[in-house]
């Protein structure tokens, strides 16, 4: 009985959606063109995805799988036309096999291409050992490039403003209070994360201040997250009201 009612709700909603679209097209609010059908498809998929808030259902599953399939297909096409074709196929493969090509093949591209192919050999039991060469190259290069730059950008550059003097002359009272708060926040949170000393006495008090700073930071993050998720909902409703129904100008 319950399954039947869910089925009826699904069929009824789809029927209503079809009727609304027929009305919109007949009244000229939606153009009878690819653009019009694109808007209908967008509206339908929006409803299908948000239908999950009511309950998991086949419409949501279709939209979910469609999203995965379309994004993968799109990624393959974009990667071919924006990367593989101009950076590998045109400068290396075309001049190698086409006599009409005026440019000489860029043989230097063979080495990185081989490393890329080796990565895919992980799927072969006999040749998977070759993928280790690629990983060794990636890890070695990555660590060499990243370590000094990350230390410089994320640690040294971040320490500088924390060491700014509270009173050096010229600053406002509020900016001095701000600097003091930052200093207190950095020290108390660092103390909170020292687990080798028992959090009692002075250490315990500073650690509690650190918890307060952390809680305020989590609250700010949560507030921003709520704002972000709402923005997505607002954007979709703007699309439905403006582009689909034509209610908003």
């Amino acid at each position: 009985m319950r399954k039947d009612s869910n089925f009826l709700i699904l069929v009824g909603t789809i029927g209503l959606f079809v009727c609304v679209n027929i009305f919109l097209m007949a009244s000229g609010k939606l153009p009878l063109s690819f653009d019009g059908f694109g808007i209908i498809l967008g509206a339908g998929l929006t409803f299908a995805v948000y239908s999950f808030l009511y309950k998991d259902n086949p419409a949501f599953k279709i939209a979910e799988n469609l999203y995965v399939g379309v994004s993968l297909g799109y990624t393959i096409v974009i990667t071919w036309f924006n990367f593989l074709k101009p950076d590998l196929y045109d400068p290396l493969i075309v001049p190698m096999f086409s006599k009409a090509s005026e440019k000489a093949p860029q043989y230097a591209l063979i080495f990185p291409s081989l490393l890329g192919i080796f990565m895919l050999l992980r799927f072969s039991r006999k040749l998977s050992w070759l993928s280790r060469w690629t990983f060794a190259f990636v890890v070695g290069l990555g660590a060499g490039i990243s370590i000094p730059r990350v230390i410089s950008a994320f640690i040294l550059e971040q320490i500088k403003p924390s060491l700014r003097p509270v009173f050096s002359g010229g600053e406002t009272i509020l900016s001095s209070i701000n600097t003091l708060l930052i200093m207190l926040g950095v020290i108390s949170v660092l103390i909170y994360f020292i687990f080798s000393v028992e959090h009692k006495g002075t250490i315990g008090k500073f650690s509690k201040i650190g918890i307060w700073f952390l809680m305020i930071s989590f609250g700010a993050s949560f507030g921003y997250t709520v704002m972000g998720r709402l923005s997505l909902l607002i954007g979709r409703i703007q699309f439905l009201l403006r582009d689909w129904l034509g209610v908003l100008q």
Binding site: L53, M227, I237, L248
Partner: protein
Amino acid sequence: MEKFLRIDRRIIFAIITVAVIVSLILRFELPIPASEPVHGVYEKIESLPKGSHVMISFDYDPSSKEELQPMAVAFLHHCFSRDLKVIGMTHYTGAPGLADQAMNSVASQYQKKYGEDYAFLGYKPGNASLIINMGENMYSAFPKDFYGNDTTTLPVLQGVDSLRNLDFLFDLAAGTSIETWIVYGKEKYKFELGAGCTAVMGPDMYPFLQSKQLIGLLGGLKGAAEYEALVKKKANAVSGMRPQSVVHVIIILFVIFGNVVYFTTRRARHA
């Protein structure tokens, strides 16, 4: 009273949806004062002379479109109105369609010509290695643009052989690209960097403002609305701030109501 603690969450979803629809339909103005980080980006663009090169990195895909596309459009309006040369690129496979649409639609409003006033280099994988490549040689990183044109023939790229030659780089980020630009780009090639990001990422970016690694930041739909108001091109983000504010008030009321009900029932249980 206890039944309020077991309220069906779908009722809350319905209330939020109705609040969004009603506040979008009913037109009322709310003040949108620009915050200091948003002013940072705005003032930087205002300070650039005509013909300066600005690069926009469209590092987002359709899942973040609602927050970042309004930022991209407002920022492009500002750049084209100041006659700056705009170069677009992306680290995201899902971005080219959105970036191309934003650049072409805004450029056409200012009669800007593709290749001379702006160009879209398209997508390239690699993240950090791509940024380093762009820093060493822009033409080697992007031998062709999104439309397959040879980048050495594009007048808009004249004088921009490396990231060092950029007057400003603005990253629209839905992931970790701001950090990547800072670590592998700004630190070595010393260009001015500003960013726009999703609201979820906003709090994590504030330390970079304090250290001046970012000169300005647009956080979420609010940042986009502030920028739209500054450049006087009020659109989706500004109209989205009405439901945003109304729903925030409703959520605050829900939180207060939930706490009152919780403590009342707890007291009743202990009594």
